[in-house]
Symmetry: C2
Subunit: 302 residues, 2 copies
Amino acid sequence: MKVDLIAVLVAVFEGSPSVLTIQTGSALPSGPFALEHRSLQAGLRDWVEKQTGHPVGYIEQLYTFADRDRFDEESDERVISISYLGLTRKEQPLFSSGWRSWYHYFPWEDHRDGPPAVLTDTILPRLAAWIAAAPGKADKDARRQRVAVAFGTEGREWNEELVLQRYELLFGAGLVKEATRKHPASSDQELVPGRAMDADHRRILATGIARLRTKIKYRPVVFELMPESFTLLHLQRTVEALAGRLVHKQNFRRLIEQQELVEETGETATDTGGRPAKLFRFRHAILAERTAAGTRLPLSRT
Amino acid sequence: MKVDLIAVLVAVFEGSPSVLTIQTGSALPSGPFALEHRSLQAGLRDWVEKQTGHPVGYIEQLYTFADRDRFDEESDERVISISYLGLTRKEQPLFSSGWRSWYHYFPWEDHRDGPPAVLTDTILPRLAAWIAAAPGKADKDARRQRVAVAFGTEGREWNEELVLQRYELLFGAGLVKEATRKHPASSDQELVPGRAMDADHRRILATGIARLRTKIKYRPVVFELMPESFTLLHLQRTVEALAGRLVHKQNFRRLIEQQELVEETGETATDTGGRPAKLFRFRHAILAERTAAGTRLPLSRT
DNA sequence: ATAGATATGCTCAAACTAAGCATAAGCGAG
DNA sequence: CTCGCTTATGCTTAGTTTGAGCATATCTAT
């Protein structure tokens, strides 16, 4: 069997959460796991750094796939794909490089200016049609509920973490290009906006986004994406870019400060309009102090 | 390369969180991923059911390993190991079968009766010695802090989720058998109690326990371990068995009920002493309704 | 000086938690 | 058949955490 490593490498630049791609945006960087690599992580790290020149900071494993349709086209060997999420500071965006906003692939995921037009004007109507096209009432109801949960319709809340569920739902409804490859039935007009990727790379990207959106809530991983010093608003904008939603400024600050995640550098930002903001830096010490995750059990003292 | 599937299969029986083992408890069940398997999950499922006769309910991927020391002894080929966590209802514990309490392997993890003696009497003193044995002051402090975080010393709280960190720390300190295999230096007397396993199976088990302890807090997975109907105390005892800690009874009930996770069956338990308890069943409907995870961002309405 | 921005401090009410009191309803022993 | 023990279940109370928003501070540009 062959083993492939696939990277979802993320950086945030000026409000755009970006992912590193190859082939002008149609695939995620990947490469074979070779004998000379000490470990999977080392392999991936080697690999991405060689291919892109970017040092990768934080890395975590995402998922391992080996579905029946994964096989090497030449050798007809089966392929195992191990995907990773990596975070990096992108100082200068080389225009020629493969960084793309992830909302390019998932335009319905950006709710920073409210529900995007593509969602209300295109996606939801098509999903409504898909619901209506179900054979029986039970099936209709099942589809309706899946849509309601994933897309926050019928009075439900939009949950930014459900990136993968939404993609899979659209896939199942035949509304993304990848779904039509095996059985080319629908024309492009019937698809939903958002760029497709090779094989199942867009699904892997969805998995990475979902993981990151979940993780920023309970681990201080955002700082892997920030420069050495930053203003609280800059930090907030980065979180917002990732989450695809706006946060309440004052409460966000309270949260950050009470968790003692940052400390003042003493300097203030040479600003773009408005009162100058204090600059902060991440308190690395906190990592050691608080590996602690947030428990949620009603513990007993006795 | 070869691909192996390894299962951490969990069931709870009478207050013992148990894991399925082979070779009289010295290894986790595992088997090669073969060409006939549709997917990894299918492979694992097939495989465990064939080997143990147990139907596996819930399954989730844990981690994929491929360290340098993982290779097949015969063919000298490199081995990738994909581990899974599975939950099942163990109706009757066959004494001959391979179920073992996981506290057999991690006796320091059971805090249901307060910090266990093995921790206070054996482990902490040896860790203190390990700290003292560090070369410089900086190293001593680093070790001290790791111990404090992982084991809740120096006024910190015990965090039941840090199962893997604790195991790795003990490994690093040379206090578990697995750590002494390559360089057999210390004698058995210097080790910490708790049964070792082959290769890195105990580490995989630790990963599974940690994942489960985290997961029960935000997803209703406990019910995969419960029979069709149960009392709230039974449910509580199961959670406590997994978490290794006691929970506050009244608050636990409030939590369960307000989340609408269960509904009364209308019957009451033929009890073991005390007022008869109402029987409940899991409301499967809730799964569809609430895929929603608990967000933790200070969102903004505007 | 004034308008337009952003930064920052503070308040208030609603929701959620941790702890524990109190009562209910079985069982078995005397 | 009543006491003592055990478990079930309802409810209270105080402390904390969140969600929202008001008010003020400090810059820049005009």
